[in-house]
């Protein structure tokens, strides 16, 4: 009885709130209406492109017959929980993308530092060149890697000529190193763009004071600049999420089994398990959401310790 009462009263409260938002009388109501109107397009889009597909994925992962989406079964989730291979793919993905992210952020710090601290010739061209890979589809990145490091690759054959080794042994395009370079190539511009914004806000006076007091360049960077750009580094680490989503590159090069490739395999003809693919996708979404929340807390708090 009481449950029903409380449910009725909360429903009534929501209805009152909605009515007040639709026909505001106070300033607070008007503000609420502005917020609602501004958020509406996002929620419309999120419903069509986010919530509905996610609900379909949930249904698909619980379907007994995954082709016709009929019946109910926990089989897909059981498979996901009990098969060692999936844990191995998850670990593969995390260390590989994690390492690629760290390398990209380290390189990003170096690039941003150079762009900010030195007067470069053709600085705009350099910035354009650094940010350009953001616009490249993963498949194109894969072909670039093959053109450079494949068996007929430019770099491969240059090294082969220089050292007298055979190009076949040197080719690394379809080895894990080639794939890693492709990942770094895609993540580096994202990390750099975030870090450039942070570098623009660095307190130059503190750096100058440190140098005047006799600190070396490296000491100045370590003790003065680095603490100031820390939030930027944390924000750049969020490019980890973009790394997880890379698909085209790994689809072509195929040298390391990461989550996107696994989802693709689960939905292809030979081993057709769309219900397992849906379950993997849901775990993936849950992980991304959790990772984002944790990451944002670090970005927002001032006392970040990495």
């Amino acid at each position: 009885m009481s449950v029903r009462k409380s449910a009725t009263s909360s429903a009534r409260r929501v209805a009152t709130l909605a009515a007040a938002t639709a026909r505001p009388t106070t300033e607070r109501d008007r503000e609420r209406r502005r917020i609602a109107i501004m958020c509406l397009p996002f929620f419309a889009l999120a419903t069509v492109a986010g919530f509905v597909p996610l609900a379909t994925l949930v249904r698909l992962s619980l379907a007994e017959d995954a082709v016709w989406i009929e019946g109910w079964s926990l089989e897909a989730w059981r498979t996901l929980a009990t098969t060692a291979e999936y844990r191995w793919v998850a670990w593969n993905t995390l260390w590989f993308v994690g390492l690629a992210t760290l390398v990209s952020v380290a390189l990003g710090v170096a690039v941003s530092h150079v762009l900010e601290k030195y007067d470069l010739p053709l600085e705009r061209a350099v910035v354009a060149a650094v940010s350009f890979p953001i616009a490249l589809p993963g498949i194109i990145v894969a072909y670039l890697i093959i053109v450079l490091l494949g068996r007929q690759g430019l770099v491969t054959n240059a090294i082969a000529v220089a050292t007298g080794q055979s190009a076949l042994d040197l080719a690394s395009a379809t080895a894990i190193t080639g794939l890693f370079l492709g990942y770094v190539y895609s993540l580096l511009p994202r990390a750099t763009m975030v870090l450039r914004g942070t570098y623009a806000e660095v307190n130059v006076r503190a750096e100058e004071a440190a140098r005047a007091l006799g600190a070396s360049r490296w000491e100045t960077f370590y003790h003065v600049t680095l603490p100031e750009i820390r939030p930027g580094i944390v924000a750049a680490i969020l490019t980890f999420r973009s790394g997880l989503a890379i698909f085209g590159t790994v689809l072509v090069l195929q040298s390391h089994r990461v989550i996107t490739l696994q989802i693709h395999d689960e939905t292809s003809v030979g081993s057709y398990d769309p219900d397992v693919a849906a379950a993997i996708g849901l775990v993936y979404v849950a992980f991304i959401v959790a990772f984002t929340f944790v990451g944002l807390r670090f970005v927002e708090s001032d006392a970040v310790e990495i």
């Binding site: 082709v67 016709w68 989406i69 292809s268 003809v269 057709y272 769309p274």
Partner: protein, 381 residues
């Protein structure tokens, strides 16, 4: 490209027949206004029924009925001439078709599947297909159709051996007559199979296996064969046309279709530089596996009437003849005059065999894994 006499005679006949049909259809359409209202009887046995042309769509969608493959272009044209229904040019592979069927199971976009037989069986096990026995269903061999009429073969490709006659002549080799002949060091040194995880490579391996007394559960014979030829330098190749042209390989185990295409449709070679042989085993066991291609009506097909009419059409003698033009053997090949470009019909009769397709589909993954794991030939992966 040459114009072989068989083709010419046949195309004259077909075009004559088509012209006659067109004339009749023309007269009829004058009376009926575009041919609607006309009925055709389709189906075999219990599936016999009348379909009304009024129900036909402008354009019929059937997976993998596409220009540039198995002479479907000519079949599409002939069907449109006969019944006024054009076909959508459905470019794609059997695997892509299966993916698409599964993705659109509840709202099918195509009325029938057509392509590799084993993919048709997979579609059947996913409940994507419907029961329909087209006219002439009874003449299709039992191994190459399901009893319930879900999947029916319409044409076949046969494992054969394609070789460079000019190279053989240089080396003083005779034309191969059995699989045993390929063990000759001068043949095996540049002999290529296709990898076992392809439909064609699997058929090659199973052909050799059968020729030496093996079956689907015993792959030792083919592995032993591979061991013998690997010593001399035989290996797996994915693409054979390039290496064949450059002289890197002089013998390849492939479908008859591929070899005949190389012989007659390739500008790099004169016809007499290449030959295609269908081989038995050393003691006369069959050594040429027939790999069927076929079709299946889809459950909830958007245009079942027109699809049934098309399926019937594909099994007619006229349409079966059209497959010959693309060097594909129709399923009714033994009822028809096989063109001279093919290896002799008697060679097929002696060496060809089929395996139970449903059994093959269930064992396929294990067979491929075992072959990849055990074969000594390079390039299996």
């Amino acid at each position: 490209m040459s114009e072989p006499t068989g083709t010419t005679r046949r195309s004259v006949l077909t075009s004559g027949a088509t012209a006659g049909t067109l004339a009749v259809a023309g007269c009829l359409s004058d009376f009926t206004g575009g041919g609607s209202g006309q009925t055709y009887t389709v189906g075999h046995g219990d599936h016999e029924m009348d379909v009304d042309a009024g129900a036909f769509p402008e354009e019929l969608h059937i997976y993998c009925v596409q220009t540039g493959w198995s002479n479907w272009g000519a079949v599409m044209e002939a069907f449109e001439d006969e019944y006024g229904v054009s076909l959508y040019d459905a470019q794609g592979s059997s695997g892509e078709a299966l993916e698409d069927m599964r993705a659109n199971a509840r709202n099918p976009t195509h009325s029938a599947y057509n392509g590799g037989y084993s993919f048709g069986l997979e579609a059947m096990s996913d409940d994507l297909t419907a029961e329909y026995k087209p006219e002439n269903w009874d003449v299709v061999p039992d191994d190459l159709k399901t009893d319930d009429g879900h999947v029916t073969a319409t044409r076949q490709m046969t494992t054969s051996v394609t070789y460079r006659t000019d190279v053989y002549e240089e080396r003083g080799l005779d034309a191969p007559e059995t699989w045993e002949d390929l063990k000759h060091p001068d043949i095996a040194k540049d002999l290529a199979f296709t990898p076992p995880h392809t439909a064609n490579g699997q058929a090659s391996a199973l052909s050799v296996n059968r020729a030496y007394g093996g079956d689907l559960d015993d792959l030792d014979p083919v592995i032993e064969y591979h061991e013998e030829i690997a010593e001399h330098g035989a290996d797996f190749r994915r693409n054979v046309e390039g290496p064949m042209t450059s002289g890197e390989i002089s013998t390849v185990v492939e479908y008859d279709y591929t070899g005949l295409n190389l012989k007659y449709n390739n500008d790099e070679f004169d016809e007499d530089q290449i030959d295609v042989a269908v081989l038995p085993g050393p003691d006369g066991e069959p050594g040429a596996m027939n790999v069927p291609y076929g079709y299946a009506l889809l459950r909830n097909a958007p245009n079942p009437e027109a699809a049934k009419l098309f399926m019937d059409f594909v099994l007619t003698e006229d349409c079966q003849e059209l497959f010959f033009d693309a060097y594909v053997r129709p399923i009714r090949a033994d009822e028809l005059d096989q063109p001279d470009e093919f290896p002799a019909q008697s060679a097929y009769d002696e060496a060809q065999f089929t395996v139970d397709q449903e059994e093959l589909v269930s064992k396929q993954a294990d067979i491929q894994d075992e072959l990849v794991e055990r074969t000594p030939l390079q390039g299996a992966q």
